[in-house]
Structure formats: structure tokens, C-alpha cells
């Protein structure tokens, strides 16, 4: 399936869910926040979130800034 992840189009295996996507990038849910189709998800809410064709996913984190 095709999704937009962090602004780039990505081809992912069908059936991969959000937690799986994070795991694939070795990202601990603890340190990131996800925006899934405009909905903001914190770690607890990420469980069992399915991904499907055309979804827009933003995976963000806090970094050094002023």
C-alpha cells in the first residue's frame, strides 16, 4: 500500500500497522508523537492503529530548539 509518511510517499507491506511501522524504524513510541490522518496519537493510543492506502502519517519528536 502507498502512504505519505513524514511528507514522502512510501510503499509499505499491506497489513503493517502503526506500531509495526515504528518498530521497523527502531523508534520507541515513548520518544515520538504520531499524527495519523490529522489525529494526534500518544504512545497508549498507537496500539492497534491500522494503516491503509493513502494514509498520511507524521512521526515527530522533540529536538533541540530555541
Amino acid at each position: 500500500m502507498r502512504l505519505i509518511v513524514n511528507g514522502r510517499e512510501r510503499e509499505l507491506d499491506d497489513g503493517l500497522d502503526l506500531v509495526g511501522l515504528l518498530r521497523a524504524h527502531r523508534l520507541e513510541p515513548r520518544v515520538v508523537v504520531v499524527e495519523h490522518n490529522g489525529r494526534i496519537l500518544r504512545p497508549p493510543q498507537m496500539e492497534g492503529v491500522d494503516l491503509s492506502e493513502g494514509d498520511r502519517v507524521e512521526i515527530v519528536q522533540l529536538v533541540g530548539g530555541g
Binding site: V5, N6, G7, H25, R26, L27, V31, V32, V33, E35, I40, L41, R42, E58, I59, V60, Q61, L62, V63, G64, G65, G66
Partner: protein
């Protein structure tokens, strides 16, 4: 220029008191950014040396192409420092609101440093967009700390929109030029009743002292510490300078005179 205290009188509401924001009191009047340090290790030591209790952070996309680097949060204890996510990167009210919400989800606090940039060259804010974004974020339960310019009219509009403080710039972000127009900061102090925190421009310790002597409630800085040759030493210098400037404002400086006034008595001179 006459030094005008916050609220218009010559003495502070509470000598030695702390910085109050949205009902919380902070002993330190210095807020530090976390960007542009040589390393996370140096950053952590600088935060320690500065005595700050509030640190700003940015919200950014994870770079999925690189192996996950050492997360900033591994170096900052949220029990010790209030995390203040900013909306850096936003150029419209809508972008700022979106970033603020992501920051809240990540930072686990309702405090947000609001930035809406109106010009890339100067990184000056778009004050109309700031007012609009402040209204929406306040409706959404945020405590909004807006980075604004030194216009007292815009400052009052932001207070009216519900900002918990106003954060006028002293000079362009990262420019290290200090306060280019102290009088405008004095006008802002007269125009609003919320705390005034000078955000951006401080280059060295004396800039921090000068700024506090105007009677402002606090200072937010990043580059001046992070990019100093010795960031930890500069962080200590800034801590002392902010305290020195505040104490001097509370103590009431002598007037400037064009002429000399002897320090030793004129009487009893041997001739």
C-alpha cells in the same frame, strides 16, 4: 531614558520574588533554548550551570533515513525542567496551531512558545497571525508564550487574546546585538500587565543585565550560550548577569549626571 518599572512604578511588586507564569512560580528568570550546542553533554551541563527551570524545544519530523540518534529527552529531566515546545518553522497561524498540538502531545504540558515567522531574513514575527493563533490556542487550553516584536500595540493585542506573557525580541534571533530599542521594551512594560520576557538578541552577559535593568520579568536565550566558545562558563555568566540586573533594578540605580561628583569629602582638605 528613565527606567520605568513594570506596572509603571519605580519598584518591583516583590523584591526577590520569582517569575510567575500561568499560576506557576519559577525562581530563575532565565529561560534557555536547547539548540545548537556542541553536544548534548555540554547542553546538559550548561542548563545545570544556568540555574534555569524552563527549557524550550522544537518539534521536528523524525529522520527515518538515519538510524535513530540519541534522543534529546534522554538528556533533560522533565521533573526538573519545564519543557516548553516552540512552533518554530510555522509561517501561518494554522501551521503554528498544528505544531503546538503535536508539541503538547510530546511535551506533556500545556505551555507553548508561539512563533509565527513573517520574514525569513529577520525571523521577525507576523503579529497579526500571532494574535489569531493565540486566540485559537487559548480556546484549546494552552498557556501561550508568544515570541513577538517590540511593538507595544501588538503586545497589548496579544495580552487581550489571552497570552500568559509577551516575549518581545531585543534584536534578531541569534544576532547577539542585545536590545536595539530599550525604549520600546519600556513602552511594552507600561502597556501590558502580564509578564514581559525578552526573547532573542542577547549576545553576552552585559546584554542580559541591561535587559533586566529595564524591569522586564525574564529573558529567553539560546545562541548566546550554545555558541559561546565555552557554553558552560557562559551559562554561569548569564545566570549571574540576570540576577545582577534584577538586583540592580530592585536596588534603584543612581541618576546619570553630565558632571562629576566627588566621592571624597570636600571639607578638611589639606592645603
Amino acid at each position: 531614558m528613565s527606567i520605568v518599572a513594570h506596572g509603571g512604578n519605580g519598584t518591583p511588586a516583590s523584591p526577590g520574588g520569582g517569575l510567575e507564569l500561568a499560576g506557576r512560580t519559577f525562581r530563575s528568570r532565565l529561560i534557555l533554548g536547547t539548540g545548537k550546542y556542541p553536544s548534548n553533554q555540554v547542553m546538559a551541563e550548561a542548563l545545570e550551570a544556568s540555574g534555569t527551570e524552563i527549557v524550550t524545544v522544537a518539534v521536528r519530523r523524525v529522520d527515518l533515513s538515519r538510524s535513530t540518534e540519541d534522543a534529546l529527552l534522554n538528556w533533560i529531566d522533565p521533573e526538573r525542567y519545564l519543557l516548553l515546545p516552540n512552533t518554530a518553522g510555522a509561517t501561518t497561524a494554522a501551521e503554528a496551531v498544528r505544531i503546538a498540538r503535536l508539541g503538547r502531545a510530546a511535551g506533556l504540558s500545556d505551555f507553548v512558545k508561539l512563533e509565527v515567522i513573517g520574514d525569513e531574513r529577520t525571523l521577525y514575527p507576523d503579529t497579526a497571525a500571532l494574535v489569531e493563533a493565540t486566540r485559537e490556542l487559548v480556546r484549546d487550553g494552552f498557556h501561550v508564550l508568544p515570541y513577538t516584536n517590540d511593538d507595544p500595540v501588538a503586545a497589548r493585542r496579544l495580552e487581550d487574546a489571552g497570552a500568559v506573557c509577551v516575549m518581545p525580541l531585543g534584536s534578531p534571533i541569534g544576532s547577539g546585538q542585545g536590545v536595539l530599542n530599550p525604549q520600546n521594551l519600556l513602552f511594552i512594560l507600561e502597556s501590558v500587565s502580564v509578564p514581559v520576557i525578552v526573547d532573542a538578541g542577547v549576545g553576552t552577559a552585559s546584554d542580559a543585565a541591561i535587559t533586566m535593568e529595564l524591569g522586564v520579568d525574564g529573558i529567553l536565550m539560546n545562541t548566546a550560550v550554545a555558541q559561546a566558545r565555552d557554553p558552560v562558563r557562559m551559562a554561569r555568566a548569564m545566570r549571574l548577569a540576570v540576577e545582577a540586573g534584577r538586583l540592580a533594578w530592585e536596588a534603584g540605580r543612581i541618576p546619570r549626571r553630565p558632571r562629576a561628583e566627588p566621592s571624597s569629602p570636600r571639607e578638611g582638605v589639606l592645603v
